[in-house]
Amino acid sequence: MGLKAYAFETSIRGALVAGALLGSQTARADPPALGLETIGRLELAWTFRTGNPRGHAGAPAVSGDSIFVLTPFPHALVALDLQGHERWRVVPDSDPRAEGLATGGGVTDGPVLAGGRLYLTTLDGHAMAVEAATGRVAWDRAVASLDAGETLRNAPLVQGGRVYVGSAGDDAGARGWLAALDSGTGRELWRRLSTGPDGEVGIGPQFRSAYPTEAGADLGVRTWPPEAWRQGGGSPGPILADAELGVVVYGTGHPAPWNPDQRPGSNRWTSGLFARDAATGAARWFTPTNPHDEHAYGAASPNLLVDRPWRGVDRKLLVHPDPNGFLQVLDRETGLILSAKPIVPTNAVSGLDAGSGAPVRADAKRTHADTMTRDICPAWTGPVLAEPALSAETGFVLLPTSRLCMDLEPRDSGVIPGTLSIGANVRLKVPAGPAGALVAWDLEREAPAWTAEEPLPLAGGVLATGGLAIYGTLDGRLKALDARSGRSLWEYRAPSGIIGRPVAFTGPDGRAYLAVLAGVGGPLGQAARGGIDVRDATAAGGLANAVRQAAYRDILGQGDESGSLLVFRLP
């Protein structure tokens, strides 16, 4: 089986990700020592407190005997040795106004290590390169404008001498864009937007969509009411690169504002998947997954690139757990959807239209201005917020899922500078049954191989290594399961909820290490921290309502005042 695994740096919706080819960029992630037999012996080596109370998403970067942690906003980039001693620390200047745009808990991701440099983005819109050895800032560019409502959430993607950076700011009505910077100097090479005229979006002769609906000039303008595309949203999600095809692939966020009646039309190029030429940014293909997005789903979820046979033919696949609840498998050369199956209970979308690839929406769950639609599943947060992983040993895709539903009442919303024009009342709900699950998806059978149910939604990424599935939960449990069966093998109780992704590596001493950031936050963990009053059901994007229900109640107030890095080691 020509199976090739990629792992990525990611983050969370709204805040997002950057993927990286793990093999070339970070420490090799398959220490032979960490496996089914040894996991029970894993023990905590040391912890490092970041002193930052926000949610800690993503993963640290590891190189040799150094671990690099980018703390949440206001950021600090900290280099630690393998004993947990601080080597150096870079504290970029921060613009506190960014906190006003920090939707979904304002979690960020990074850093990314490449060629001896750490690349990172800051919430307040800077992209930076820092020498890994010394902590010297190589370059620092302001690429996103807070005034326009833009922030940076995803870790950058570094590939082929270019640093790809995607904006965030759908809820502020900012037009999403993807920019490529020169990795040496930080100079901007190109910038492509998710809405607007073809020239700005990068639609040109190279563009060939698998679906006829995408043909036509200036769809980024013409599928909107006049001028509405100027506040259209559609910020990129985690970015993946396929060096072989020379493309970068990412999903775009939801259109702005939430109220669908304010933006009739299919609202190109939001809520869909883009493949762009890695060198020029020209669009190769676009596949809409939630055109005229009525539920603020977007399509900016973390994806996986998988090369494997599909119905007998070797294919380059894109595995996309769409926020509408369907796991979509696409051919990443053409953007054609090969398969779409629900991975969580869904009712908003009943299936996909074969001709256009567009979701078939259930009338009962459509939304309209000033009208409440109840019990839409999944919720706007989507089923998968954090990085899935491909288990090399089993071939299963390990998906950390949440099963939240929502009540949604879109309302007219104006574009007022400096404010978030969400314009919707929303309450998240925990449906009957478990609120989350780790789903091991068998691509072959297009069905789950096994499901490990969780009382709380899963909001952190999964690490697949040595036949294990390792992930953290909102109530601070770090768990290791047998990737073949889902059997629980090991569990550790962290001081705070985990929304980060564990990383495993072998130290220069040859011992197997496991590192993970703990610090609850993000769209699904925000309410556990201070600053949110859950008496208001609509607080924190409606999360407060879910928190008032069920198991969530237990984690209230358990957010540590500081996040921490936990480093485990096999003896």
Binding site: A98, A102, M372, E409, I532, R535, A537, R553, G557
Partner: protein, 178 residues
Amino acid sequence: MRALAPAVLAALAFAGCQRETRDFRTDPPVLAALDDVAPLPNRIGGAPPDVYVALGQPYQANAYALSEGKRLYDGMNCKGCHADGGGGTGPALLDGWWRYGPDIVSLYVTLRDGRPRGMPSYADKLNSEQLWQVAAYVQTIGSYRAATAATSRNDQMQSRPSENRGPARAPLTEPPSR
């Protein structure tokens, strides 16, 4: 006793009027004077403008002003960050544990000038009277004001007990020590 009755009645009448008057038009000079707040150097608390005192603090206990404040709270996208008082991207207002304190002048200054951590300035979006109305409404969210003149629920999604019901339920968590 005889003398008391009319006095009580007059007091009631006055209180009633105070809560219920609807002055739609404020003279431009008054509007300008209403902006003359004197916040303390740390911009927390301070003295309200003379005209505000002279008018008898016309917004904090006036039902119409509060309902206008609530309308503007919704219309000016305050909900985008603070939700219906529970917070989100911005801090919660419902708990009453406010970074810049519950003083009306603080609120006014917060709204007018913004605050460094993401709170935008509304000076170019609302006039001084409207700023007072929103400030007064926000005070009722934190239950700093008597409930009789406070607004009731909106014809929208139910999110929490409305301002006129005050702190109807105990919070599930202790207020954070901020």
